[in-house]
């Protein structure tokens, strides 16, 4: 039996999945605490013995691959020129690389901006600005200001190619580690985020893993390949696209409702599905990840309550507003708590449904009607997810929630809101065994096994 061990160094837990590569099946799972703050080997050792307790003596794994969202994840700051153009492209690149965006800046950085960047102390800064042959003043000015700043993190330059070397030189002269890659927007309106995404991942592997102390356990695994959200996105890509000899699921959406944030990933072109609709704005990346920093089951539960209204949550929970508020206060005070009482479980269910609904509505594109002298014209901004065939839920609350199908159903298009271009009739599936990250990690080395594993374990839930 050829086997692989996949590791997720999370912020709370170290999670393991052992996989049989010949059959593309899961052998077992193990879990330990996250001990990055002290010594990462502690949590991993505990997780390994947990796994051993479940499946017996551990085999000699062919691959031992890891991803990490521990120690705050991959904190990034992006800088571009125009907010809707290169600044947006830089943001897309960072999100697609699995980063946790802590700051996004556009135009010339002010003293206040620099102070903010210094306070944020990001793991990586992505510096863009100008199309190739376009504006070079602003990226050079920003490079100079970042060079003079007290930040010491690596800087990835992905802006106007005519200015990139000079910008890199300014930063290097100040002792900052610099990587130059292709422009995130080489021509006006052309998105080119893959090279920047690869550069971010490379810097993550070469520097960040060490800086966060994750490589202290390097005897126990082969490599930390990427941040966990990037592994989930890679898993989603493989499941969507499939392989030459094995079809995938087609365009899909993955929703991950966490304690602090809700991530939505889409693998879809997002082109208009209705006739005569004119796309507007930047082209959308085929692989798109959005992070809703204000929607989470614990730390950000009050934000969800504010967005949908306490009375809505109370009604869905079957309590009065005071009763619901009491539960909200309890879970906000104890962010690691799991629901125990029936009312708490119903409240969590209501929170999850609300988070899914809002997060997918923000991720999906919208269509607006513009009145012209020749009649009304429909203009689409963002991705049309109408023809998405599969919606997959992942993460604790969806995997262990009481009604995952009801939560995921909130991702669907609402006939009362035709302007929101959400999936119309997808199959709803659940990553109940938390395997998407494992598929993403395996995709690079054992794609067939990864695809088999993913297809077999994204279980359909409820009716569609």
């Amino acid at each position: 039996m050829t086997t692989a061990l996949l590791i997720d160094f999370g912020s709370t837990f170290t999670k393991l999945r052992a996989v049989d590569l010949e059959k593309g099946e899961i052998i077992g799972a193990g879990q330990g605490p996250s001990t990055v703050a002290s010594d990462i080997t502690g949590g991993l050792t505990k997780a390994l013995s947990d796994l051993e307790g479940r499946i017996g003596p551990l085999p000699d794994f062919k691959h031992r691959l890891a991803c990490s969202s521990a120690a705050g994840g991959l904190g990034m700051v992006t800088v571009g020129l125009v907010k809707e153009l290169t600044a947006e492209a830089a943001k897309q690149a960072a999100l697609g690389a699995g980063a946790k965006l802590t700051g996004t800046f556009s135009h010339g950085l002010t003293q206040g901006d620099i102070a903010e960047v210094e306070a944020l102390a990001p793991d990586i800064i992505l510096l863009a600005g100008g199309t190739d042959g376009g504006n070079s003043d602003v990226i050079l000015e920003n490079a100079e200001k970042l060079a003079a700043a007290s930040v010491t993190c690596p800087v990835i330059v992905a802006g106007n190619r005519e200015a990139a070397d000079e910008a890199a030189g300014l930063l290097e002269a100040a002792g900052k580690p610099v990587t130059v890659t292709e422009n995130v927007m080489p021509e006006f309106g052309t998105l080119n985020v893959e090279p920047a995404r690869d550069a971010i991942r490379q810097v993550f592997i070469e520097r960040i893993v060490h800086a966060k102390g994750i490589d202290r356990a390097e005897e126990m695994f082969d490599a930390v390949l990427m941040p966990t959200p990037a592994a989930v996105l890679e898993g989603a890509r493989l499941l969507s696209e499939g392989l030459d000899n094995a079809p995938g699921l087609g365009p899909l959406v993955v929703i991950d409702v966490g304690g602090a944030t809700t991530d939505v990933h889409s693998v879809a072109t997002g082109e208009p599905t209705a006739e005569g609709v004119i796309p507007h704005g930047l082209p959308e990346p085929h692989l798109k990840r959005t992070v809703e920093g204000d929607l989470g089951m614990r730390i950000n539960a009050p934000a969800i309550a504010e967005a949908v209204g306490m009375d809505t949550l109370a009604e869905a929970t079957g309590l009065d507003v005071d009763g619901a508020r009491k539960i909200l206060d309890e879970i906000t005070a104890a962010v690691d708590s799991l629901p125990e009482t029936a009312a708490q479980k119903r409240f969590d269910q209501a929170l999850a449904e609300a988070a899914v609904g809002i997060a997918v509505a923000r991720h999906a594109g919208t269509v607006t009607i513009v009145q012209t002298v020749t009649g009304p014209v429909s203009m689409q901004t963002g991705k049309d997810l109408g023809s998405v065939a599969t919606v997959i839920g992942t993460g604790g609350v969806l995997a262990h929630g009481t009604h995952p199908a009801a939560s995921l159903a909130r991702a669907l298009a609402d006939p009362a809101k035709p302007q929101s271009l959400r999936p119309k009739d997808p199959e709803l599936r659940l990553d109940g065994d938390y395997l998407l990250f494992a598929c993403g990690l395996l995709a690079g080395v054992e794609p067939e096994a990864a695809l088999t594993l993913g297809l077999a374990h994204m279980h359909p839930v409820g009716g569609t």
Binding site: V82, S136, F188
Partner: protein
């Protein structure tokens, strides 16, 4: 004329598009292709382009000129404050052209041209202007030292 005779055109970036809720793309498309053929770098925004998007595209691409088309008679409303938007975005000296059906009905061209020049456009062209004439005017204006503020 072709691009070889005017090597400097290759250093000039022009943003083109149809302003406002105007879907008439054909003339603008012909203009964009003609300008490209003449050797200019063209950033084509197409139909239904709000004024601020012309300006944003010009900032990012360090454009030297913006060529606004308006065919549906609402140009006066759509273009109000266009020069101010450019100045606001740091594009003080950028060359601004407008062309098309700039007003509703038959009106004296001189008065139409004056209205658009008062709005800050360097040149205004009536419907039916040939691409060659636009190219010649561009050459003349850029030779006279008219240069973008970026």
């Amino acid at each position: 004329m072709n691009a070889d005779e005017n090597p400097k055109r290759g250093d000039i970036t022009l943003v083109t598009g149809v302003i406002g809720a105007d879907t008439h793309i054909v003339g603008n498309r012909i203009l964009s292709l003609g300008l490209e053929e003449a050797g200019f770098k063209v950033v084509s925004l197409g139909a239904l382009t709000p004024a601020d998007e012309f300006v944003k595209a010009a900032v990012e691409t360090a454009a030297d000129g913006i060529m606004v088309s308006s065919l549906y008679g609402q140009g006066e409303l759509d273009c109000r404050g266009f020069r101010d938007l450019c100045i606001e975005a740091g594009l003080e000296g950028i060359l601004l052209y407008i062309g098309g059906n700039l007003v509703v009905g038959k009106q004296d061209w001189d008065s139409v041209e004056k209205r658009y020049k008062d709005m800050g456009f360097d040149r205004a062209f009536p419907n039916g202007t040939r691409v060659e004439e636009v190219v010649e005017t561009l050459d003349k204006d850029f030779a006279a030292g008219k240069k973008a503020g970026t």
